[in-house]
Symmetry: C2
Subunit: 230 residues, 2 copies
DNA sequence: GAACTGTAGATTGTCAACAATAGGCGATGT
DNA sequence: ACATCGCCTATTGTTGACAATCTACAGTTC
């Protein structure tokens, strides 16, 4: 499905995709704020390219829903409402649950390999928790979940989840929410990993559900005190 | 969320999106075959625009996964393998199940309104079955499911499902499969509608699962005899 | 005859100039 | 003082031209 395309294909990926990836990363890092307009000329200059390729990249991000386009006015970073947060985490729960089932059905080896990757991410996460590097923690949090979904081997699920992960990072960063209870963060992910390793389908689903519900509670609670639109 | 943007905003939607919608429709109707290259100059001419806006639209469809882009070679209609079919229907099952839960949780009025829309689609479908208009049947089939998901009111779920619906139509058309048992088609959808109306969550999930599994069986069986790549 | 090389054609990738539109700002009139 | 009208600037939308790259084919050599 995702063909290796032969060895050493230098820069084989389309330009628009490369630019889109860079922009997405900058957006989730909060370099662009929600509601902010993307000035095509300025950004094109910064990325050492011209408006043509940049506009193609912007269309990709519009399709993802990270940006919104208003005709004759330009593209803007999507402002996330509380309703959006609820949506995002509802869909994340659905996707992860589906991925969990697919992964468990895919056989013990697949599960084992995935657990191996997840363990490393949790170790890194614990390190960053000690350093209190929130940016890195948010990244690793999403990397954990993305890796989890990737384990299922369903390319469409992965593609869908990548957008959701980006939006989740926007939620966390843009609402300027630090993780409320940092101590349970590693613990919760470890719990999911343990249940996956044990193959306990039922409890795994419940754990994912709890994980998402907790996140929504934290995010919506903190955004209410910040007067974010409902 | 999806703002009406005021009354009478003539052609308010961005150009790239309009072009992308037109192209997607042409692709699912089989005007472009899988694997076929999209010649930018030719298509731009046909759509009475230039290569710039067209390329922006192509990027949107690449992001959806309907087209694939190879650097310095162009974009091509994605060729669906049997593995792809399994993926698409697995994700569809997950999305529809999620939508079903959300819809039932959204209250009786929402359910009732959605059922009203679904009933009309089923009536239309029965009509087209009588006429044996396969193209129209495929369209209504997807319209039924899209309307079902839309009932949940989750914009991200809707967006995700629109792509899946397009890919499903490509499966049906491109594999040149007529619906194998046309008589049960209306019946199966009516069954889903009945269970939704009755609010029988458990049976609804099972019905959706059966519906998808049956579709995969039909599609994979017919593509095997057609020597499609596994 | 097979393999390799160089050339030609077509197609995509990129860019810069031009056209069109929206929103801001000041002038004007009531 | 307030509202309205009209201009002005900044930004986007569109186009055509140019550069880079790939594929196919013919010619050459072993």
């Amino acid at each position: 499905m995702t063909a290796p395309d032969g060895p050493f294909v230098l820069e084989g990926r389309p330009t628009a995709q490369l630019i889109a990836d860079q922009l997405r990363e900058q957006i989730v890092q909060g370099i662009f704020r929600p509601g902010q307009q993307i000035n095509e000329s300025v950004i094109a200059g910064q990325l050492r390219t011209s408006r043509g390729p940049l506009r193609e990249a912007l269309q990709r991000l519009c399709q993802e829903g990270i940006l919104v386009s208003h005709r004759n006015r330009g593209v803007f970073v999507h402002e996330l409402s509380i309703q959006d947060i609820r949506e995002i985490y509802a869909v994340r729960e659905a996707v992860e649950s589906t991925a969990a089932d697919a992964l468990l059905d895919a056989g013990a080896k697949r599960v084992k390999d995935t657990c191996q990757l997840l363990k490393k991410i949790i170790r890194d996460m614990a390190k960053q928790v000690a350093l209190s590097d929130w940016q890195a923690i948010a990244r690793l949090d999403m990397e954990f979940h993305t890796t989890f979904v990737a384990g299922a081997g369903n390319t469409r699920l992965i593609r869908i989840y990548q957008t959701l992960a980006a939006e989740s990072r926007m939620c966390i960063l843009n609402l300027e929410v630090s993780y409320p209870r940092i101590d349970v963060l590693v613990e919760e992910h470890q719990n999911i990993l343990d249940l996956l390793e044990a193959g306990d389908r039922e409890e795994l689903h419940k754990a994912i559900k709890r994980h998402m519900q907790k996140a929504v509670e934290d995010l919506t609670a903190s955004s209410e005190e910040m007067h974010i639109a409902n």
